[in-house]
Symmetry: C2
Subunit: 682 residues, 2 copies
């Protein structure tokens, strides 16, 4: 290519990217679309608004989505829309046109065009699912003024970067009722996620009814499982939203619950299997050398697979250390006889048998990345979860793609680790990897994982959202969309819209705090919870034995979330202040320090209650340190004694309180060091 | 009886009643038990707590209830109870014993004894359901101190006053998903209600799947209906809680939705039936002279009745004005031929046919009190709903009992009228009526009715609760338990416990307000909502045509509730102040007036939003009036001009704002008149 032309193209592209960025300061879209242009129009949302479906909506998806769209629009704006249902009338003000109805395979087309003019909104898509994605974009554009609500005039062309954009919900460690699943499906659709990975079995419970093997629900679920009717209902609900459902039956490990119902399939004789109440990796494992195991799994999967119309079927396959295999003479002999050198080889033997069973059922096998052994057929889909945290150099995703496997990434998107939204948002599935076209195509996408050891229906939403909305942008939007501040601004708005959909991440915080204060004023606890975050990366529940599955999850740590609100703001302002003492930050820091100083008085009024005792030192140290820092900064003076007291407060605040960490300590310490350097009385 | 003995007995009784009253200031029980004594013990709730089920729990009710009890106790107290499930071990610290398993008929025994000692809690009941009621009492007794949680040592003997204690939920006007029903069943059980009346059909929707007549769900439900599996699930869930389920299929009136699917059964030829979008009483009525009508209903009921194991089956029968009957020549001729003088006679003809159909299905017919015509057989159960509001002298309850009908009262318990808890609490089902033993026995009990014209899943809980808890006390406790202040104190605690069970009445208020401010600070709206109540007695939605079923119910009025919090407190203090100027009330009134004066500034910061415009005059007038009153009371001086301005503010505040009324206006007016009398500058 001519060098000058190249420079012009790059120049045009940069200009285009810059204008996209400016628009992303203006419109609260998430995920950010591939292309957006302003067109100087404005579509008023008023009583006369009508919607027409022009495509052949044979599965009824657009009918349902449009009806919900009309309810959500009315609820959000307070506008009494006269016509509460879509029509087929070509004179409607919002027209939805699409060419075909999606069969929800991996290759479904989700692209759409959205054109908002003064008197008309036009949605065009290849498929009904594309039309659904467009409706979500349109809803996000709802804007209000003093006198009206409107859609701003923009023209959007949009299509996802990855075809597989998932959320895993683990319903084994803590069961999640259908209503929890449904509201999260609604939220997924709102941010254009399209795969619900349903982790249905684990050591702590087998959550699916079986008519063939009823002891699974009778003995392995504590009565907490989904009936076939409920599964069909959820799968239909997901399909209506253009979301595929991938079931996971985790074998051969993670089998404590399974084997408590059918111990004869275990690898260890005379072993008492029982539903696991703790968290962690456990020994109970299916016996891969017994023919009965395969007969059982074939019958079970033959019964259950038809409930899940999707082509992909996840068999888990993770974290099997094979301890019981090594301990068994028969299994050791079998390995020798069949030239299976390691337990991994034996598991591959097991996996290959499973793949054949699933093939008969027209299912493609998918499994966690431990299944990627040299002899594993390339037809398996590799779910990459391990990474640096598990002792690897990087995730297994690129390796899998290069070896010829289709693959999906979860490493980097483990939201149960309670890390910041920034952390997850800045993980790109592909990164700098250099890939051939074929390799790139094998990277299907990624999945956010909500493991549920420490979450219940009361708290699960605040662990999934709003972070998952930002991660959804990573999966859908162009790789170049990476501005964290901009994302955080948009995320605030999206977070509120998720609440409107029924997500309880905001409202349930106060529920927990009201329970803790027994109805007394919760303001002081809100203040504390806004600077504390739950312990991260599994340091809450050390060794998996601090909490049982039935321990209380209505504690202070459960009211706290990642990205503690005041901490984010305070830490930013301290950084700003240390750069420029005369900035606004000085005022804001002073306000926060005053608030924390005062807070302890309010806390003392409500704290005559055993559940609040672990918070007393937190509240007290924070107040004392804040007061000392505030005074020193104001008076520009700090005595040695004050300094050493402050050091002591900080030392104590660095310790966990009630399973949380105070995430402003580093900033407070910076302020203290500043005081030491500038104001210490020698 | 010897007069002296009588006096002694009365004396002892008064003493007993007085001690019960003193205890009700101490323990937050609701409904208040029949007998409670203190025994100077204290049972510590700690990790070692265990529960044993000693009775033969063949239906598993106590197992499920106890498991839930253990979760709720852990969640409430934060105690990590080691044993998460009940055992059969006689050494457990809480022992639950009962003799038989209830078949959930109307005669089920729900009595129980509860004895809390230092090291042991003993529950004894005739039936498993009695044991469930005891567990709820025990949970309500949970008490905390600085160092521990405990059950205080009391001994309780308890049994309900009425056998039928119900809550009706109308799922026709606004559909309520299974999760809404389930959480309300949990709450019902917590306050010992035992009948869920499921109003399943009405002009606005037919909410039950039929395989025989599938057009009912296809054309008459907007896709919002319960499948058979869902109904079975709900009925089982209710049974597990000791709650009977009474289905209502409202015929022959309230039939718009029904007839939109099967117009051939209507009373008017060539009439276009459609699902009704408004509220009110409508004309579409089943045709009682067509044999096909009865064939249809028999087939339908034969299909559906088995889903509902309860003996009682509600056929509605209300508000049929028979307009279409009068307009039909054939029907008029039929009436003449069969000597049916009025439309009511014709409806009785219809009802008697229905009773025969239901008898074949082993069901007892129940209907609204319009069915009580002279020829109606005494086997029917009369559901008394009309009263003074409908132009009668009193409710039809006593009349029905005296005529020989079994009967249930709902008049006085229409919580959709948005009246105060005090209003409903002071309605006694029997009152001063003098009844024979047989007549008294025919008064089965009462039902609270949640008609859903103006409620959605977002708001329904705040309309049902907490008022229904106080009404439940009316149905369960002794007639003498009537102290309103005492009830209100206990209700506050119960209200929080309902939130813990999943009821959303508190948390969803902020959700609505956050939607209105689009995420901006909601404090000023909370302040306004705490002195405003939704318009009462159907004056919101005048004529039933202001709101359609799909209009927004996310408005200010939907965030407001009956018994507005600050209003209750302020009004009390004004009364107190006018009695005694030197009381604490003076200080409190001043605080409120200051708060309302300041509030408008905060409101102005958030109000650039069309949805908030209707509140502007409210906020403004309230601030101006509060300021003027505050100044005048402080300075003991009010000019004529100020007085006339204040009069004007009050005049404006008397008008509805955004479908709410400001329920402190009368108190403010009293303060103004006081200022006029005392401080007016002449």
């Amino acid at each position: 290519m001519n060098r000058i032309i190249l420079i012009i193209i790059i120049g045009l592209f940069s200009q285009f990217a810059a204008s996209q960025h400016a628009l992303s300061e203006k419109y609260n879209l998430m995920p950010w679309p591939q292309e957006i242009q302003e067109n100087n129009s404005k579509f008023s949302i008023n009583e006369a608004l009508t919607v027409a479906i022009l495509g052949n909506d044979s599965k009824g998806r657009v009918q349902k989505a449009t009806t919900k769209f009309l309810r959500r629009l009315a609820d959000r704006t307070g506008v009494f829309i006269n016509t509460g249902f879509p029509t087929k009338n070509n004179t409607a003000s919002i027209k939805i046109d699409f060419q075909t109805v999606s069969d929800l395979t991996i290759n479904q087309d989700e692209s759409y065009n959205l054109d908002i003019k003064n008197k008309e909104v036009l949605i065009q898509a290849k498929t009904d699912v594309g039309a659904l994605r467009a409706l979500e974009t349109l809803l996000q554009l709802t804007t209000y003024s003093n006198t009206e609500n409107y859609f701003p005039g923009v023209t959007i062309q949009d299509t996802p970067r990855f075809v597989w954009r998932g959320l895993l919900i683990d319903v084994a460690r803590h069961f999640q009722p259908v209503s929890v699943i449904k509201r999260n499906l609604d939220a997924m659709a709102a941010v254009k996620l399209n795969v619900f990975h349903w982790h249905l079995t684990d050591d702590q419970g087998f959550r699916v009814e079986s008519n063939t093997y009823p002891k699974l629900q009778e003995l392995a679920s504590d009565g907490l499982y989904y009936t076939h009717a409920q599964i069909k209902d959820v799968v239909q609900y997901a399909s209506d939203l253009g979301i595929r459902v991938i079931p996971e039956f985790d074998v051969p490990g993670h089998a404590s619950a399974f084997l408590s119902a059918y111990p004869e399939l275990g690898s260890k004789d005379n072993y008492t299997y029982s539903i696991e109440r703790y968290a962690g990796v456990f020994d109970p494992t299916l016996n891969p050398i017994k023919e009965e195991t395969y007969v059982f799994l074939e019958k079970l999967f033959t019964e259950i697979a038809p409930l899940f119309p999707d082509e992909y079927f996840h068999i888990g396959g993770d974290e099997n250390e094979g301890k019981h295999w090594t301990e068994s003479k028969e299994i050791t002999a079998f390995k020798k006889k069949n030239n299976l050198k390691t337990n991994h080889d034996l598991q591959t033997f097991f996996n290959i048998r499973l793949e054949k069973i699933l093939k008969k059922l027209d299912k493609k096998l998918m499994g966690w990345d431990e299944i990627m052994t040299p002899t594993m057929p390339k037809t398996a889909v590799i779910h990459s979860w391990r990474g640096t945290h598990e002792g690897l150099k990087s995730s297994t995703l690129i390796e899998a793609a290069k070896k010829g496997y289709s693959t999906v990434l979860s490493n980097g998107y483990y939201i149960d680790r309670m890390l910041s939204v920034k952390h997850h948002y800045t993980v790109d599935p592909i990164g700098d990897a250099v890939l051939t076209k074929a390799e790139r195509k094998r990277i299907l996408g990624a999945e956010t994982t909500m493991w549920s050891e420490l979450v219940t229906p009361l708290t699960i939403d605040s662990r999934i959202w709003p972070r998952t909305a930002a991660i959804a942008e990573r999966y859908w939007s162009a790789k170049e969309v990476t501005d964290v501040d901009n994302m955080q601004r948009r995320l605030q708005k999206v977070s509120l819209q998720l609440e409107e959909l029924g997500i309880t991440h905001i409202r349930n915080k106060d529920v927990i705090l009201r329970n803790m204060t027994k109805g007394k004023d919760i303001t002081s606890l809100i203040t504390l919870s806004n600077i504390c975050e739950p312990l991260k990366v599994y340091s809450r529940n050390k060794g998996g034995t601090e909490y049982k599955s039935f321990s209380p999850f209505t504690l202070f740590a459960d009211a706290c979330v990642a990205d503690a609100k005041d901490a984010v703001a305070f830490n930013k302002n301290v950084t700003q202040y240390l750069k420029d003492k005369n900035s606004d930050a000085s005022f804001i820091i002073n306000e926060y320090l005053a608030k924390w100083t005062e807070n302890h008085k309010a806390f003392q009024k409500i704290s005559n209650n055993s559940i609040l005792q672990p918070l007393k030192p937190l509240s007290q140290n924070l107040a004392a340190l804040s007061k000392s820092l505030q005074t020193s900064l104001q008076n520009k003076k700090m005595t040695k004694e004050e300094f050493s007291q402050c050091e002591n407060y900080i030392k104590q605040l660095k310790e966990p309180f009630a399973d949380t960490e105070v995430v402003i300590v580093a900033a407070l310490q910076k302020l203290l060091l500043y005081c030491e350097a500038k104001y210490l009385v020698k």
